[in-house]
């Protein structure tokens, strides 16, 4: 089976080269036969990679420990479920997953456009095919997952089969493991589609809005997957890593945030191009940047250039990625410069107080955020270049910069939609902003009276209140106008209204989700924690809570041994719940892992971690965090997913009376 996998993977390289080259030739000669061949090449690449993935799955499931990848990421005792998802647990396998997703997307795009966009398609297939060539080189020649195990016997190397595998990293043995990496990868890889169309538009000179319309849904889908992937990663870190938080500005987290920031900027600025024919170069640049940052993120994770909790150790891919990235940058920037004359704006800005200037500010802030995150992430590398030492900037640095930017963006979320396109007069400004601002002021005065005195938190809550108000007004007012004209009842009117412009109202729903998430983020300002060494019968306090250690139990399974602390949790002398943090020791990988226990309510999470034994070995060390409003982050993320799906629905077209 390993041979078969190898042969299949080996086919991928020539097939990818063939696809890219015939596509390029089709673009130049405009011959249908060449384009059809390129299309078939794309289908074949997909088929070959799919079979290779199945072959690797077969090896994983049957625990063939003559294969290095299988032996270092699974063991006999590992549950079947985790054997299957071990496909993306290690570097080589996850690279194959990356490659697979690229081939899936190229096949979908080739199929979707088999009868249309003949002018753009050759170059689209060329760009996607080139990406495929690059990843096939990595998968086949540098990080082949079908590599067999070798051992030295005298002076020769001999294949051998390990008696048992090394096992899956305990941190990865969590249900989120199933979903987080593929979702994030789809988000990363998806950016290649808008990129390919943008490059095709640049090459052919068909720079109208056609490429934008064609890739709208792709851009949005990719964006949604990235967002959901990032948040799932945060959720996973929260419940699995056991340090009490969900985001630490770790280089790999930042790497996923970067393309998300640029693609969010793009989703907004593209509306200016659609309405005013402005920012054409800028939109191209954002699409290109999103793709390159996605590749850069993969590079960052796999090159070992920055250290991170979940970066793959130095995998020797650095130079290959560096070459591919530089080629991508040079190629796209040259094309962009070559076409700059054709990308002149059709109109000028008319007023500083208008919807379009709101979008401009939004883009400026997203650009700032991208640069800040990029700078902070790369700072260890930059500082090493100049001073010889790796200086890491920590979460406080990021928070100091990103909190103001984030709040400013949130404010724009509320203010932007209140502005009219082109020009908004002072009179209407007063009318639209007056009540929401007054409401927010009263709201934070009430919060202050209730005992919240943190300046940033008050600011954040005030802005959240303001934005929520404006979004509600959008829905209610819009529905009321429709109800008057159509005679429908209020709810139906609201439904019809939003179904007729899914992008607008899906967007508002996503804005509302962002507000909910920001409320959750703001909860961090009130986090508190305590650390206690307890034996059975001991107790300790955190805020209004008292914890009694009931018992410490030990257990053993085939896969790991564990120690569990049972804590009774009281608030004002009333028993609320029992929580049992656990510490595990996995035999195969010889690694410990903490299983946190969380008592979760809408108001706050009580998060308990069993850190280990005390020095004298008689007590256990337990760490308890009180994290207010964390659930808002997950609820917000859920609403965001719904909003994204809604925005992707086609607009409902109504037949006017008299039409057939």
């Amino acid at each position: 089976m390993a041979d078969l996998g190898n042969i299949l993977l080996f086919f991928l390289f020539p097939v990818s080269v063939f696809t890219a080259l015939t596509a390029l030739a089709a673009g130049i000669t405009k011959r249908r036969g060449l384009l059809e061949a390129a299309r078939r090449g794309a289908y074949a690449a997909f088929a070959v990679t799919t079979l290779a993935v199945l072959a690797l799955e077969y090896l994983l499931v049957t625990s063939d420990f003559s294969i290095e990848y299988v032996a270092s990421n699974t063991n006999f005792a590992l549950p079947l479920f985790y054997k299957i998802v071990a496909l993306w647990a290690g570097h080589n396998g996850s690279l194959l997953l990356w490659t697979w997703i690229v081939t899936i997307f190229i096949a979908i795009v080739a199929y979707q456009h088999r009868h249309k966009n003949n002018d753009l398609m050759p170059y689209v297939l060329f760009v996607m095919g080139s990406t495929m060539v690059f990843f096939s080189i990595l998968s086949v020649f540098i990080s082949n997952p079908f590599q067999t195990l070798y051992q030295e016997v005298g002076n020769t190397l001999q294949e051998f089969t390990a008696r048992d595998g090394h096992g899956l990293n305990p941190l990865l043995q969590h249900p989120a493991m199933v979903i987080h990496p593929p979702v994030l990868f789809i988000g990363y890889v998806g950016s290649v589609v808008p990129f390919a169309f943008a490059i095709a538009a640049l090459i052919t000179g068909k720079l109208g809005t056609e490429w934008i319309h064609t890739t709208r849904r792709w851009a949005l889908t990719t964006w949604g997957f990235l967002a959901v992937g990032i948040i799932l990663g945060g959720k996973w870190a929260y419940v699995e890593l056991g340090w009490g938080g969900y985001w630490a500005w770790d280089p790999v987290e930042n790497a996923s945030l970067l393309p998300w920031l640029t693609s969010t900027a793009y989703l907004h600025s593209v509306m200016i191009q659609e309405r005013k024919g402005m920012l054409k170069i800028w939109n191209m640049a954002l699409v290109i940047a999103t793709y390159l940052l996605a590749i850069f993120g993969t590079f960052l994770t796999r090159s070992g250039i920055v250290s991170s909790v979940h970066a793959f150790a130095n995998s020797g891919l650095g130079p290959a990625f560096a070459i591919f990235l530089s080629m991508g940058i040079i190629f796209s920037v040259t094309l962009l410069l070559y076409r700059r004359k054709d990308l002149k704006p059709d109109e000028e800005m008319e007023s500083l107080v208008s919807r379009e200037s709101g979008f401009l500010f939004n883009n400026l802030l997203f650009l700032l955020a991208t640069i800040a995150v990029l700078w902070g992430t790369m700072f260890p590398v930059i500082s090493e270049l100049f001073t010889g030492d790796q200086i890491t900037v920590g979460p406080p640095w990021f928070n100091n910069i990103m909190i103001p930017i984030g709040l400013a963006l949130l404010l724009l979320t509320g203010a932007g939609p209140l502005l009219a396109w082109r020009h908004t007069s002072v009179e209407t400004l007063k009318r639209s902003f007056g009540w929401p601002i007054l409401g927010s002021i009263i709201f934070i005065m009430a919060l202050y009276a209730f005992g919240i005195h943190d300046g940033w938190a008050l600011g954040s809550f005030a802005i959240s209140f303001f934005v929520m108000w404006t979004i509600l007004v959008e829905f209610v007012k819009g529905a009321n106008i429709r109800r008057k004209n159509s005679g429908e009842n209020f709810l139906l009117a609201m439904y019809m209204l939003s179904r007729k412009n899914t992008r607008r109202y899906g967007g508002y729903l996503i804005h509302a989700a962002m507000v909910v998430m920001f409320v959750g983020f703001t909860g961090n300002a009130f986090n508190s924690e305590t650390r206690a060494e307890v034996g059975e019968g001991d107790s300790f306090n955190l805020g209004p809570y008292t914890f009694n250690a009931i018992q410490i139990t030990e257990a053993q399974t085939e896969n790991y041994s564990s120690q569990t602390l049972e804590l009774e949790m009281f608030r004002n002398d009333r028993l609320i719940s029992t929580i049992s943090p656990e510490k595990r020791y996995y035999f195969a990988s010889e690694q410990p892992s903490t299983e946190v226990d969380i008592y979760s309510t809408l108001r706050e999470d009580i998060y308990a971690v069993l850190s280990g034994m005390s020095n004298d070995g008689t007590k256990v060390i337990v760490q308890v965090y009180r994290n207010p409003l964390v659930n808002m982050v997950w609820i917000g993320a859920f609403i965001m997913g719904i909003g994204t799906l809604f925005a992707m629905l086609p607009n409902l077209r109504e037949n006017k009376a008299g039409d057939k």
Partner: protein
């Protein structure tokens, strides 16, 4: 096992390469200026819809609304006028192109002595490929 893989691979390769040996045609790029104008038209219409929505939601004064709307309407008028004149010249190009292609097709078809069948869209009667009108009902053949 590997024999199976090799055969499948080779079959695949043949399937992929096959279109390269087909006697094939080229496609003609669509008229770009017309695309651009169609874009513009779509944009002006979108702008008018947005403007009316913004006004209904109370985001701009009646004076601004009337003023901007008038500007959009005259812009739409200009674009449509241009589009119409472009369209007719684009049609002329297309017709020229079709006629020259028709000649080619006729030649190759005569060579092959293998005529494809053409049916009237109105009554479904089979006609000669080069027929301009249906021989039964007289409907123009497309």
């Amino acid at each position: 096992m590997s024999f199976l893989a090799y055969t499948t691979g080779i079959a695949f390769l043949i399937w992929i390469i096959l279109p390269l040996f087909k006697k094939d045609s080229t496609w003609v790029s669509l008229y770009m200026e017309a695309d651009e104008l169609a874009d513009k038209k779509k944009r002006v219409y979108g702008n008018i819809a947005d403007l009316e929505f913004d006004f209904a939601m109370g985001r701009l004064s009646e004076k601004d609304f009337k003023h901007i709307r008038q500007a959009f309407l005259s812009e739409a008028g200009r674009v449509i006028e241009k589009l119409e004149s472009q369209k007719s010249s684009a049609f002329m190009d297309r017709i020229e192109n079709d006629i020259s292609n028709l000649g080619k097709k006729r030649k190759t078809k005569k060579k092959n002595k293998n005529r494809s069948k053409v049916f009237c869209i109105e009554c479904g009667t089979e006609n000669l490929p080069e027929a301009k009108f249906c021989m039964k009902c007289g409907k123009e053949m497309s």
